[in-house]
């Protein structure tokens, strides 16, 4: 691997590739930020460790101007790729990218590259996995009541749940999916109580998104027989008996492709969408949960249909 198009006189023959990522929450959030960080670490291992790929991160950057400062700072330090992992960073990327034509910027989740040659945009079609989870859930529920716990009705929290409801309805439109929003990405206590409320109201299956759903999983676990469907990360480790499946954001493919393109001289201008089709989204069935074969088959059928395009999930 050697640099090609852009002239880099000082570049040594074995140059360490450098990626920096800016994330709104912690790299350990078991959700959005962690999904990206895990992918980067996986790519690093694959490429041969720190000498091949240097990684730097800034986490907890919920303040956009701070994130902008970080993006600019990393870019000026000569990082090859700067990932702005949060849709709120879009305008910062738009502003900074023109100043660093040699640096690749990737940002998401969104689809807009602003027409710039060194900006990639990426997003996840969370509704697809939501649909699959919905199908599975609909087939597993006995009480015909499913609870959804979410933070605020925006972004992929919303698209995931919209997809999930579609999936449920495709199986049985009489199932009652009730939703609660806590108004906060971090209020775990309220999220837990929301989950307990669903359970008390008869829900035997729960799902939801954001870093605070760990509380909902805890509630399911405490109850002992309520099932959980995850998203963003594989959440099986939090409740090995009760997590049926998780939609996993797998950014590794995308990252590898962006690296390759960067090395080949294409610094941006494209949009990546994680989908079931391109392997960016995966449904991780939890091996610890004994999923009835016909349910699993229905789930796999849904995956196939979405991949083939015979089912279209509306975001």
């Amino acid at each position: 691997t050697s640099p090609t198009a852009t002239e880099a006189p000082t570049a040594a023959p074995v140059k360490t590739f450098r990626i920096a990522v800016i994330m709104p929450s912690a790299i350990t959030d078991m959700a959005f930020s962690q999904s990206m960080w895990n992918a980067l670490v996986a790519v690093q291992t694959e490429m041969g460790g720190e000498t091949a790929l240097e990684l730097k991160y800034s986490e907890g950057m919920f303040k956009v101007p701070d994130a902008a400062a970080a993006i600019r700072d990393y870019a000026s330090q000569g990082f090859d790729i700067v990932i702005a992992h949060g849709s709120q960073y879009g305008s910062s990327v738009q502003e900074i990218a023109p100043d660093f034509p040699d640096v690749t910027f990737a940002w998401g989740t969104d689809v807009n590259t602003f027409g710039m040659p060194n900006v990639y945009a990426y997003t996840a079609a969370a509704e697809e996995g939501g649909y699959v989870n919905g199908v599975l859930a609909a087939m597993l529920t006995k009480s015909k009541t499913i609870g959804v716990t979410g933070p605020v009705e925006v972004g992929d929290a919303k698209t995931y749940i919209d997809g999930f409801v579609q999936g449920v309805e495709s199986v049985d439109a009489t199932i009652n999916v009730s939703k609660t929003w806590t108004g906060s990405f971090s209020d775990v206590a309220l999220m837990t109580e929301a989950a307990k409320t669903h359970i008390a109201a008869g829900a035997d299956i729960l799902t939801g998104s954001s870093q605070s759903v760990v509380g909902s999983i805890g509630a399911a676990k405490e109850n002992g027989s309520v099932l959980w469907f995850g998203t963003q990360q594989d959440q099986a480790s939090l409740a090995p008996d009760l997590v049926v499946a998780s939609q996993v954001y797998d950014w590794t493919g995308m990252i590898k492709e962006i690296i390759a393109k960067h090395l080949a001289g294409t610094l941006g201008g494209e949009t990546y969408i994680l989908q079931l089709k391109n392997g960016g989204l995966k449904i991780a069935f939890n091996p610890g949960y004994a999923l009835p074969a016909e349910v699993k088959a229905a789930g796999e059928k849904a995956i196939e249909d979405i991949t083939a395009g015979t089912i279209v999930v509306n975001p």
Binding site: T28, D29, V188, E193, T197, G215
Partner: protein
């Protein structure tokens, strides 16, 4: 809408409310001790976080919930000593010391979590203990007598705190340094020591409040787990007129409305969720606005004491 008035729903709301109230009760009763002695501690949320982390970590590595509780107590105590050092010995402005303490607790708890645990995990914490006989009463038993020990503890704390403040020499001394430290001092009451003790009791209870989240109600730890509950707890002290029983009503009101709005969402009552979430805050303000007979705050609240200053 009719669903809301079903017995099971009402029972559900009350059960939730009792759980939700637990951390507020610990923290607000603790803050009451602190404020009764004349020290406003705005750092409650930070102490709760440290307590939550410490107890969670200890339970995670030892599996012993009692050691976990002890860790929360020790962590709270250390934070209390820090707060007292700054605001009592060094007589710093209390509001700002508290904000500093909050930032410190928030930062340190996350840092420790990152370096020692790394990712969200769960533990087996305090389990529900059904009280014999009482717990078997239909509906009522489920609402009141089937909770974890830390939940019972929070409610037992109310009469205990009342007793300490109203019936013991020690409570008398705490109140005296909050009302007129010069007078207390002139009778040989050690003002600084009383304030240290009260702030530390407050901090220990805040630590337990954190533990009630991380090893009883949620059984997990995450960065900023409390999400600002400590500030609400401070507000509840004002709501409760610095009295344990007042705080009980405040905490129950706040958490009942919160439970109520969750149930409304679950039952699909058509109200935007954001409006529903605002409800507890709005109603708490409204309740205080219409309540009569407001008590004056401890006269020396927020005033550092130095001998010879009248």
């Amino acid at each position: 809408m009719n669903d809301v008035f079903q017995l099971s729903v009402i029972a559900g709301i009350l059960t939730s409310a009792i759980r939700l109230a637990t951390p507020y009760l610990y923290a607000a009763i603790g803050e009451t001790f602190s404020q009764r002695s004349g020290v406003v501690n705005l750092g409650v949320d930070g102490i709760m976080l440290i307590g939550a982390y410490a107890s969670f970590y200890i339970v995670l590595i030892t599996g012993n919930i009692w050691l976990g509780l002890l860790a929360a107590i020790i962590a709270g105590l250390l934070m209390g000593l820090l707060m007292s050092l700054i605001s009592v010995t060094l007589k710093a402005e209390q509001g700002i010391s508290g904000i500093g303490l909050y930032m410190f607790g928030l930062g340190l708890s996350s840092l420790l979590f990152k370096t020692t645990i790394g990712t969200v995990k769960t533990v087996t914490g305090f389990q529900s203990v059904k009280i014999p006989l009482l717990g078997d009463i239909p509906v009522v038993g489920k609402i009141f007598f089937d909770h974890s020990l830390l939940v019972y503890g929070a409610f037992l704390l109310i009469p205990l705190a009342w007793w300490v403040l109203e019936k013991t020499t020690w409570g008398l001394q705490i109140k005296s340094v909050g009302q007129n430290p010069a007078a207390a001092d002139s009778l040989g009451v050690n003002v600084d020591r009383m304030r240290y003790t009260s702030v530390c009791i407050g901090a220990i209870l805040a630590g337990i409040a954190g533990a009630s989240l991380s090893i009883s109600l949620l059984n997990l730890f995450q960065e900023n787990l409390t999400a600002g509950q400590g500030f609400i707890a401070v507000a509840l002290v004002y709501f409760g007129n610095w009295k344990p029983q007042g705080i009980l009503w405040g905490a129950l009101l706040f958490s009942t409305v919160n439970a109520f709005q969750l149930w409304m969402q679950v039952l699909g009552v058509k109200i935007p969720s954001d409006i529903a979430i605002m409800l507890p805050y709005v109603l708490t303000i409204a309740a205080l606005a219409v309540a009569t007979n407001r008590v004056r705050q401890p006269a020396a609240l927020n005033k550092p004491f130095e001998r010879g200053e009248s």
